[in-house]
């Protein structure tokens, strides 16, 4: 059987893939800089955990409750904030993230500063794989549809999109709602895996981590979300053995990455094949150069 430690890493990669893919819809395809994604995760995590604890619903219902609750908040937050653009939207979502964290820290029902404990463990590898596939499938369908083209049009030029008859506010709120829905789903899986929740985890840095996953993997690329999530979940664990240098190396990897490949590992292509071909050619040319150098 798989060693439970590696199993745990795979599950966390899966959950982070859902988080990164849902943020990718907002950031990569629609071009809205949201840095409050951890807030949606925590809404989904807390609400699904509370539903399980108080009503004892089946797992799938709890997950959907968490996701829907998060989506509702996504829409409610989207209505006033999505009239803002760029930096202003970033600040507004940042504020929203902090509000959610502070509320979770002070409510009695969420366990406050003591954290919420005793959540039953229900998330298994099968659930996570299914959730990842469903998320990626639905997001892919959205992106390939009329809605997706509208979102991309908004990303490229909002004024032009408006003048073409696209109701940009409507589409932005829609994408926020969908993004929040899947973030809530990821949160629900996380809560039922960790069996314990504390607001400290869903802070600003968690949102930044999700942002890094998307940017590192490649904006506007579903494969990028998966690769970014895998790297940023596995690398900190691999670096455990170097203890003190861990954060230093982690930071250096990010800096180097952005310096050498600012478009992310895969870049904005939607298909993985050309990217792999490109990497192969690059390696080939390096190999040739090395081979020539030797002789």
């Amino acid at each position: 059987m798989i060693n439970p430690y590696y199993m745990q890493l795979i599950i966390l990669v899966g959950i982070n893939t859902i988080m990164a893919a849902s943020l990718n819809l907002i950031l990569g395809y629609t071009g809205q800089l949201s840095i409050g994604h951890a807030a949606f995760m925590s809404l989904g995590a807390y609400s699904s955990a509370l539903v399980t604890l108080h009503f004892g619903f089946p797992f799938i219902i709890s997950l959907l409750c968490g996701a829907l609750f998060s989506a509702i908040f996504g829409v409610i937050i989207g209505i006033p904030t999505l009239k803002l653009k760029g930096d202003y939207l970033a600040i507004a979502t940042l504020g929203f993230g902090e509000i959610v964290r502070i509320v979770c820290l002070n409510l009695d029902i969420t366990g406050g500063a003591m954290g919420l404990r005793g959540i039953p463990k229900k998330t298994t590898l099968l659930w996570v794989v299914l959730a990842v596939l469903v998320t990626v499938f639905i997001l892919n369908r959205i992106i390939k549809s009329r809605i997706g083209r509208a979102l991309i049009a908004i990303r490229e030029d909002e004024t032009a999109a408006d003048s073409m008859g696209i109701n940009s506010t409507y589409y932005k709120i829609l994408c926020f709602g969908v993004g929040a829905f899947f973030a809530g789903l990821g949160g629900g899986l996380f809560a039922h895996y960790m069996r314990f929740l504390h607001p400290k985890t869903f802070d600003f840095m968690k949102s930044i981590e999700h942002l890094c996953m998307v940017v590192l993997g490649g904006l506007g690329n579903m494969w990028g979300a998966f690769i970014g999530a895998s790297i940023l979940t596995v690398v900190p664990e691999l670096l455990r053995s170097v203890a003190d240098l861990r954060l230093l190396i982690y930071g250096a990897v990010l800096v180097l990455m952005m310096r050498l490949r600012p478009q992310g590992i895969l870049g904005p292509q939607t298909d993985i094949a050309p990217a792999i071909e490109k990497i192969r050619l690059k390696f080939k040319s390096i190999w040739h150069r090395l081979a020539r150098g030797k002789t």
Partner: protein
Amino acid sequence: MTKRKKKMIMFAGVFVCLAMLLAVAGCAPEEAANGEDGTIEVKIGTVGPLTGGAANYGINILHAVEIAVEEANASGELGNISLKLISEDTGGDWSAAANAFTKLIDVDGVDVIIGAVLSSETEAGGPYAMEAKIPTISPSSTAKDLTKGNPYLFRNCLSDEVQAAQLAEYAVEELGLGKFAIFYTNNDYGVSLKEAFETTAAELAEVVAVEVFMDGDNNFKPQLTKIKESNPDALYIGGYYTEAAKIAQQAKEMGLDVQLLGADGLCNVALIEIGGEAVEGIYATSGFYPDDPTPAVQNFVNAYKEKYGEEPDMFAAQGYDAALIVINAIKTKGASSEEIREGIAATKDFPGITGKTSIDEEGDTIKDVLILKVEGGKFVRVR
């Protein structure tokens, strides 16, 4: 097959491949290595923040555990058993603590864990220890009911309830204080302290104000103004030394001249370094008094100073004692995880450097609470 379908299958394929790759990479945890000369190696894991804001606590505990393990290995008191220490960093994040616990248990195959440090870390890691049946003893997680219902989880520290309640009693009966204000930090530690102190103080005397602050705050004047209006005799600070020192200074600046009280989070020389004159006369509960003249305490203090060049604090002392309890369990019962668990659970009147320690049936510690007072820029034991 459409292109999209193909892509979905590819996506699933990559995910499964990754899973299998990791499965191949992860062999079963190593068994306790028995050397050729018949020695048995017992692996001790530690979990705690070695980086980030809470790193100070985790590093001090790790240092103390290192000293205890080195001493035990050097003295040969365990016969043919040698101890090996493996430490994992959490950065203060409880979800990283869950990873650290799983790694120690499933990859390194540790026999016993000393940790975690913060209560939330231990909350997250506890279920893993219970599933894998690895005994775990936390040297510093004070949250209420932490060890309840988990036969593999123990702790060696003052529980927040006990120390806050005892200080409230002391303040009313010995110091003759009547009206209390409580000022606590909004985390698990502060909330537990506040609840216990409020209950006892309200029973014995009167609580006139309860205010809250956040870790890392610098300005406490708005809350202190409110506290001043309620005209208390004493102010109980449920928090850590950094904030407490600043609270003491700002209270003094505002003319709020009351008796200050606190918990073990204040017992660090940094309280006096930061607070200076303002923290003079403060009373605080503690689990450790570094100037205790008993040889065991002085040996530890000297060994720690020699190795790390600084005076050990309460976290270090509790970490050292937790390691001693584990070593004692190995000595009395045996080297397997189950035997170590039995040994820890059977701890009774163990003469540690933080006082006589017993473990009750819930895995909680029973030990004496010391009360220290700051006098002339030094902590002095008053009880």
